[in-house]
Symmetry: C2
Subunit: 344 residues, 2 copies
């Protein structure tokens, strides 16, 4: 009993392929007798719908493309896992692409959507993964998409007058709160290790850093701003530089927990006590943040909801269901732990 197609199955049952298809996909449109007979036989013969045929006919693949800057990043892992779970529940599969933050790769993954390998795309990046050309030219159909985590504009990226739906947190405010906490703890010289100049979330967090200083009428030394890339390595290496500063900061704000862990490592290596000698804060609240010593002060992002909601929004678009609210800013939360818990 080799692989069997709808034709053979229909033949076996002495009915038309149309009936088989209907019995399987639109059960309400066939008699219950037919329904049962077909289902029974399908199971017996091990019939599986060939999705390629189905896709060609319906122009739907049941695949989603998700373009992520770094698949191995712990924060992203959480989002990925949540996207996958949400998609699976709705009968979709997810193609994950790692862009490394490179536009060229984003475009390559975007191409997959245009090539109909996927029905829509979730992208973590400042703009949709399509040519300028396509983005602007009128009367060209745009595939369903959702922007997440790396959202540039509070109005959403505009494509021909329409904002692209997004899901994110208020990075600016979150960083502001975190840095304000440091300032309230008496810190006046706070170094920051960023997530890159071209990364929207990092720019926003830097705005927050500046806002907090401004509000407290505290001067910012541009020498205290170090450009990292959210990785452990950058946290580790840049902290070395920070420690070489003649006017050493009393606190370090890393824009990701991964960087903060790298930073923590360097601080330990230099025998510095956290938070007494130097305070340290991260961002993301990855699950390890609470397990290192000292436990890391950070900002938690609703990882699970981010993944779930953007996937739901994308699927709603794909299936033509209306979306009530398509510019979603999820709540973050300041998590105070030992790494900044200095008693003055």
């Amino acid at each position: 009993m080799p692989d069997i197609g709808i034709k053979e199955l229909a033949q076996q049952l002495g009915i038309s392929t149309a009936s088989v298809s209907r019995a399987l996909n639109k059960p309400e449109r066939v008699s219950s007798a037919m329904r049962e007979r077909v289902r029974q036989a399908a199971k017996e013969y091990g019939y599986r719908t060939n999705m390629i045929g189905s896709s060609l006919r319906t122009s739907r693949t049941k695949n989603i493309m998700a373009i992520i800057p770094d698949l191995s990043d712990t924060f992203n892992s959480g989002v990925i896992s949540s996207m996958e779970a949400t998609a699976a529940e709705a009968g979709y599969s997810v193609l994950f692409g790692d862009s490394q933050g490179l536009r060229e790769r984003e475009l390559r993954y975007g191409d997959l959507v245009q090539q109909k390998q996927a029905d829509g795309v979730i992208f973590f990046g400042p703009k949709p993964p399509f040519d300028e050309h396509i983005l602007t030219s009128e009367n060209r159909s745009m595939p369903p998409m959702v922007n997440s985590c790396e959202v540039t504009d509070p109005k959403g990226f505009m494509v021909r007058g329409n904002p692209v739906p997004y899901v994110t947190v208020d990075n600016t405010r979150a960083a502001d709160e975190l840095v304000s906490h440091l300032i309230e703890n008496g810190h006046k010289k706070i170094a920051v290790i960023t997530g890159g100049k071209n990364t929207p979330s990092a720019c926003q967090r830097l705005d927050g850093y500046r806002n907090a200083h401004n509000r407290a009428r505290l001067a910012i030394s541009e020498q205290h701003i170090f450009e990292g890339d959210y990785t452990i390595d950058s946290g580790e290496a840049l902290t070395e530089k920070i420690l070489k500063l003649e006017d050493r900061p009393t606190a370090i704000f890393c824009m990701s927990d991964e960087s903060a862990l790298g930073s923590m490592h360097t601080l330990h290596k230099h025998q510095l006590k956290i938070p007494d000698d130097i305070a340290l804060a991260g961002f993301d609240d990855i699950r390890f943040a609470n397990y290192v010593t000292p436990a890391l002060t950070t900002v938690s992002q609703p990882v699970f909801d981010i993944g779930r909601i953007c996937t739901e929004m994308l699927i709603a678009q794909i299936e033509g269901r209306p979306i009530e609210n398509n510019q979603i800013i999820l709540p973050h939360k300041l998590i105070l732990r030992e790494s900044t818990n200095r008693v003055l």
Copy 2:
């Protein structure tokens, strides 16, 4: 200029669709004039091959299915990222499915392959993600597959007399080496937090634990074996239990670094000094292992190679290229760090 198909493109150029297809996919089989003309026009009109049509014709989707027990696990993240990179380079995309270790989910993802959503499957699990039924029934085609990380049999899982290709490390030996290291350091009571009874890698690591004890003629107390599931939580919770043991162990071997970090947290909470009061070792060498305090002794697995090689092997199968060696055991490495570095 709306979306354009091969037909319209051919029409615009006054040539046949066959020529367009050939110019794009088999450039060596058309004149260079034709090749250029078509490419030029394709670019100009923004033509993208509709992969569904192509797939229907060729029965190839250029997708790979990868079934992973936990997408958010740090060790897996590394493998995932490496799989994706390898696949992308070869022009494939990867559908990642999270099975949670549940057979039912494995089967659901396996179904996608049978439904031709993907050309082959990489699975982390004790057996292929297909019905018993399908696995045994003769004259049923089996899709290309590769087993990784959770490999039961050193001969490879047999499907109708043929071993399923695999890529893994020698978990038994690795755990043996690690536990032997502890024993050499004078530990006689070593608790272990496993990765689950039904998880091949965990069973193998437990074998290694036993072997090391046997070789050293050291008795094993079954009460020192705690069944975890590789997560931080299980490490944290089971360590609490370990500390309640009347005859407290002097070392803990966690079968994953994530568990070890959870364990470390509990030990810190109880003010125990690592390694002086109690030694701790993990497995995997996730990138955080070197960044916690004290740095964690562990076994490193060649994450990147695991992902790369199993993806390459799968693609080779898909494309009908011969595989020289399809039972691959990659080298591991004992990584000694502070968490077991006790001076006797």
